[in-house]
Amino acid sequence: MRYLTHLLVAVCCISFPAWAPGGAGEAQAQETSGSAGAAIGGAALGAASGVMLGVTASLIPCSKTLSQLTCARASTLSAGLIGLGSGTLVGAWDSGRLGSAAKGAAIGLGAGAAVGFVLKEVVRQYGWLDVLSTGAIGMSIGAQPEGAVLGLGAGVFVGSILWLTVPSFGLPDLAAAGLIGVAAGGLAAWVFDAVEANATEGDGVTIPFSFRI
């Protein structure tokens, strides 16, 4: 559990400047080249998106092991770190690309929250935290919609073949394949974005990280 606490503190430290007015203003001022503020904003968005993708992908597969929580944490942290790293690089090298991701995340957040609101009205035990949760999942997909949709298609395709050919592969496994596809596609899109941003990199920037653990 300690490593999770450490990571939490590290993510807080990294993303804190993006929450501050100065960092926000600096990131918004950049259009095509990177900046320290945009890098930090990218880190926060990438980490948030990665965490949500990781936890969503882990829900069904990890429920098949007695070390369920450990499994889910590993998936969440790995995906969060991939998002964190990729988001940082995207922000550092191409804040315009980061702006597109943020705009998609905002749309996804709104769409997810709208779905959540409908569920809240229909499902008895659902509350505002569930609206926020569907919004967060929407955000994680909206930040990288092409990758997530392609991943979903690939996951459902592979899952369907397995469902049709392997008797022990049931409907929950098919759903799990779809969710893993969404996560893998979303994370892959973050990595590709970082690679492409590097290819179009301008003068580059210095990223002022500070860790306090």
Binding site: M1, L4, L7, L8, V11, S15, A18, W19, G23, A27, Q28, G41, A44, L45, A47, A48, S49, G50, V51, M52, V55, T56, L59, I60, C62, S63, K64, L66, S67, Q68, L69, A72, R73, T76, G80, L98, G99, A102, A105, A106, L109, G116, L119, R124, Q125, Y126, G127, L129, D130, L132, S133, T134, G135, A136, M139, S140, G170, L171, P172, D173
Partner: protein, 388 residues
């Protein structure tokens, strides 16, 4: 862009932080509060209560408990049955009866050879004593509390084509002359103006007297779940504890995300911890981190042979809740690969022998009942008897 990032990062950090906090621990006797059953237990009632040690679970269970009526106990069957012989076995059935939609009298007649005619119930020759571990039993009563509409009641479940008469669990036990232990978990729908109020929960129906009665409130996920358990006695002092179990089908999305979907595993761990606590005679179990292989099965084999069976609401037979139960009930019948709710394997019978080894599962006796008898679940049945 930045406000979006702030919201997203906040939620993600929340997920990370809450992911540390899924735990279970059980203790004897939840506070009595305003819940009538607990008040009775606190004043020396026949039922011993166990519940989750966490205050959040306790408060949620308390709120739900206040909306239901008292438990119902008929410890001795009204019909007369022959005493079990030394070589007799007992059939244990696990069945979710969909709020009385399952035709229990017809099931008893066709599967267990028992005609539960109200005036002269009769167990056919050659058939064994039986225990029905029932989920989604329901009871109609004016004694169920009148609760303000502010409470968010679970929606009312009503079978599409209930059997003739549509008896509640109390009427069923009376008409069939069986021993009954029923503990309501939740209301079945909101207030009604003309009809009587209804609650629902787990129950045990038996041809054998029920003793050592236990009500185990599970860690709260989406709704209150109470495992009911009792002990039946065979010939020569053999004893078998039977527990009727119903786990939640799903929690809220927020809880699912922040507890890594450990809903049913946490409830299974709660049950296992409570049984270990009961067998050791303790008051409070340790808080275990669910999903980290910390669960204690107690001393295996334990002091009493135990069957825990029912509707575990699992999506697959390889789910962690099932694996956890198998780990702590190592003498369980093997799963036969057959689903019991559509394509989902939701219903299981788990078993562990006692240290004296006198009661065991009769190998190969477990099977799925093919007819649904009006329920949405198929029942499972297994026989237990003296070890050779």
């Amino acid at each position: 862009m930045i406000p979006t990032i702030r919201v997203c990062a906040g939620v993600a950090l929340g997920v990370l932080a809450a992911g540390c906090a899924t735990s279970a621990g059980m203790r004897l006797g939840p506070e009595d509060g305003g819940c009538p059953d607990r008040a009775a237990a606190a004043s020396g009632g026949a039922v011993t209560w166990y519940g989750p040690a966490g205050p959040g679970d306790e408060q949620s269970n308390e709120r739900w408990c206040e909306t239901v009526g008292s438990n119902v106990l008929e410890a001795f069957p009204r019909a007369s049955f022959p005493s079990p012989g030394p070589s007799d076995s007992v059939a244990v059935v696990a069945w979710n009866i969909l709020i009385g939609g399952g035709d229990v009298p017809l099931f008893l007649e066709e599967v267990l050879g028992y005609d539960c005619h109200p005036t002269s119930p009769e167990l056919d020759a050659g058939f064994s004593h039986f225990v029905l571990l029932i989920q989604e039993a329901y009871r109609r009563s004016e004694a169920i509390p009148d609760v303000p509409e502010l409470f968010k009641f679970p929606p009312r479940i009503e079978p599409e084509s209930p059997p003739e008469g549509w008896l509640d669990i109390v009427e069923l036990a009376r008409d069939c002359g069986l021993a009954l232990f029923y503990v309501p978990s939740a209301r079945n729908g909101p207030q009604t103006i003309e009809a009587e109020r209804e609650d629902k929960g787990n129950a045990i129906l038996s041809t054998l007297p029920l003793t050592d009665l236990l009500a185990i409130e599970l860690p709260f996920e989406a709704g209150r779940k109470v495992v009911v358990a009792a002990t039946i006695a065979g010939a020569s002092g053999t004893r078998l504890r039977v527990a009727s179990v119903h786990l939640d089908v799903a929690s809220t999305l927020y809880r699912t995300l922040t507890t890594a979907n450990t809903t049913r595993l946490r409830q299974a761990v709660g049950l296992i911890e409570a049984l270990a606590l009961i067998e050791r005679g303790g008051v409070t179990s340790g808080i275990v981190s669910v999903g980290s292989r910390e669960t204690s099965c107690g001393d295996l084999p334990g002091p009493i042979a135990t069957v825990a069976a029912g509707d575990f609401n699992t999506w697959s037979a390889g789910e962690s809740a099932v694996d956890q139960m198998r780990l702590c009930f190592p003498d369980s019948p093997p799963w036969d690969g057959k689903p019991t709710y559509g394509s989902f394997p939701t219903d299981f019978i788990f078993f562990r022998r006692a240290g004296d080894g006198r009661v065991s599962y009769l190998d190969g006796s477990q099977r799925r009942i093919e007819k649904r008898y009006g329920s949405d679940h198929q029942a499972r049945i297994a026989w237990f008897g003296r070890s050779e």
